[in-house]
Amino acid sequence: MTASLLQTELGPVFDRRFLFVTGKGGVGKSLISAALAVRAAQQGERTLWVEMSESPRGGHFFPNFEPCYDLAPIRENLWGMNLRVQPAIEEYLAVAFKLPFLTRMIARNTLFQVLTGALPGLDSLIPLGKIWYELGRRRGRKPYWDRIILDAPATGHALAMLRFPQAALDIVSSGNVADRAREIDAILADTELTGLIAITSLEELPVDETVDLLSRVHAETAYRFDGVVCNQVLPDIGANEHQRYLAWLDGASDPDLAAQTTDPDSLRSRLGWLESHRIIQSERAARLAEQAVTLYRAPWIPLTKETDLLDAMIEQLPAS
């Protein structure tokens, strides 16, 4: 049942040059976006992976990498940065007003920080403006980056970011903000260039939140989510031998399976737990599928170390 709902091969949306990846906290958004970035880099694409976090995860996934505002190499073909709002504002002001010294003073002024914090959406505008800049950079006749993958903020903040261009244009029609809002709108609306991807696990709250995010974005903006990656999808252990497997879980004796363990009862109870959760997961996947968006499968990986998890996920994410 799950198999038919969840695509096991990543669709063409994952080949777009800019991927905006969001999801509820704790569902594996950073893991999946990092895995997508490493895979792009492994295919020879010059790739930029961008986090936007006060406590970035990049250093956990890539032990020799320290995420900060300045671009830093992670591995062959892969660069990373942590796009925090404050340094982005400083850089933006310096570029926009060509007054590096004065603008730094202004940007670090408490009053200015409070006001920019109070202006709705400025914390969306400036980071997206940075992405716009990186997307537009050229290297000779080719784009500087073959691929930019944004590990965007969690769903609530991501919704604010996606609402931002229209909201900004409702309030201001001239000035830098309006110009930037138009540029960002052009990127987000460009379905050749940009893919909006939501990550979720098939648990109750994340699914609720994803349904909510998708329906709001689709109702309130001109943008569309092109895919939802369901992470931590439990394995279908029964697969093609389901009857036999369920019978064994139920306590039927099966010499072939009995040979696998010294403690069949506890193994049965544990795998029984997995099977019941797998069924609940496929029901939730069916709920998500009502959103008319393609669902992709990312497996549950029974590892806990983040570097191991990333390696396994890169291998497990099926090629497009």
Partner: protein
């Protein structure tokens, strides 16, 4: 011990990173307090639909609802009372404006200001700010003798504490007076840096937004002091003897490390940590760590069973070792282990069983 935390503290704040089950633990904690005979309120932010339904919170507004009736119908006897309330950010801020506005004219000007309508409830930090305001109001009303606050769903546990402080800076009267002085034409040119600052802001946003902000500040100034005073009371409440934090975490090593870091930051900030609840721990069965085969899934059923059996076992071992390490490093803090539970916890029976696990530990 969760009983000790409940017995000694009037306010329990349930914090932790996103996706670890804070809301369920909050509800179960509320149930445990009500079972201990307290008149209890669980203030939650955005519960899963079935949990909301289980608590009788489905589709209701921001008023406290009594859950006892549904508990009794489910055959659960509770000596105290259990109430639940969902936080409505916009409504909380509107109510505070109504309470503190010096006149109805002022109140209406604030509520109708475009800036206020734009930022109330949407500004980052406003959910956390509203939660603190609501907590302070309820605590000072004296209506409940136990209040369980489920903190807003953020990725980082600490955001709950830092977001209101950042927002508080926005309400700082001095800053706003400076703004009002210098944003008017009369103020321009006096002070070169401020002048440049405003020109920068104008070029950034257009003059219109500056006018909106100025009007907002003009009308809002009259309620800033009571707002700030309430926020300051809320900050004190967090550090009061009657308040303790319950830190919820998942059972994986990086989650446990984050929880340990969060707990020590709380302590450094002068706040009390009651217990650390390790949620969704997979209880180990065997003693030896089995070998995990190379292939993630092979073809035959026996191989798959063997692989996943071994993988689950290894996972439990890793989790258990990490929890043991946390327990050894946390000294006097009590660590409550809640096993991964079969079936749904988003039902009254599920809550009862979660509450039993919290108390049994």
């Amino acid at each position: 011990m969760i009983e000790t935390s409940i017995a000694n503290h009037k306010i329990l704040i349930v914090g932790g990173s996103g996706g670890v089950g804070k809301t369920s633990v909050s509800a179960a904690l509320g149930l445990a307090a009500a079972r201990a005979g307290h008149r209890t309120l669980v203030l939650t932010i955005d519960p899963a639909r079935r949990l909301a339904a289980a608590l009788g919170l489905d589709g209701i507004g921001p008023d406290a609802e009594e859950v006892n009736v549904s508990l009794e119908q489910a055959g659960i006897s509770v000596p105290g009372e259990l109430h639940a309330m969902m936080l409505d950010v916009r409504n909380t801020l509107d109510q505070a404006v109504e309470r503190y506005a010096p006149s109805t004219e002022r109140r209406d000007r604030i509520l109708n200001n475009r800036m206020y309508q734009n930022i109330a409830g949407r500004l980052s930090g406003s959910q956390e700010y509203a939660a603190m305001q609501q907590l302070e109001s309820i605590a000072s009303s004296g209506d409940f003798d136990r209040i369980i606050l489920d903190t807003p769903p953020t990725t980082q546990a600490l955001d709950f504490l830092t977001a209101p402080e950042r927002l508080q800076a926005f309400f700082d009267s001095n800053l706003i007076r400076i703004f009002l002085t210098f944003s008017g034409r009369a103020g321009r040119g006096f002070f070169r840096v401020t002048d440049v600052l405003f020109r920068t802001l104008e070029r950034l946003t257009g003059a219109q937004v500056i006018r909106d902000i100025t009007e907002f500040f003009e009308v809002a100034e009259s309620i800033l002091e009571p707002f700030s005073a309430q926020a300051a009371r809320a900050q004190r409440l967090l550090r009061a003897r009657q308040t303790a934090f319950i830190v919820v975490t998942g059972a994986n090593p990086h989650q446990l490390r984050a929880a340990a870091g969060f707990s020590s930051t709380l302590a450094e900030m002068g706040m009390r940590v009651g217990d650390i609840v390790v949620n969704r721990w997979r209880v180990p069965i065997e003693q030896d760590v089995p070998e995990v085969p190379e292939a993630i899934a092979s073809d035959a059923l026996a191989d798959r069973v063997s692989y996943w059996g071994a993988a689950l076992e290894q996972l439990t071992q890793v989790q258990t070792r990490a929890i043991d390490t946390l327990a050894a490093d946390s000294g006097h803090l009590s660590i409550i282990r809640v096993p991964e539970m079969p079936g749904s916890i988003h039902s009254l029976q599920g809550l009862v069983s979660l509450s039993n696990h919290l108390s049994k530990a």
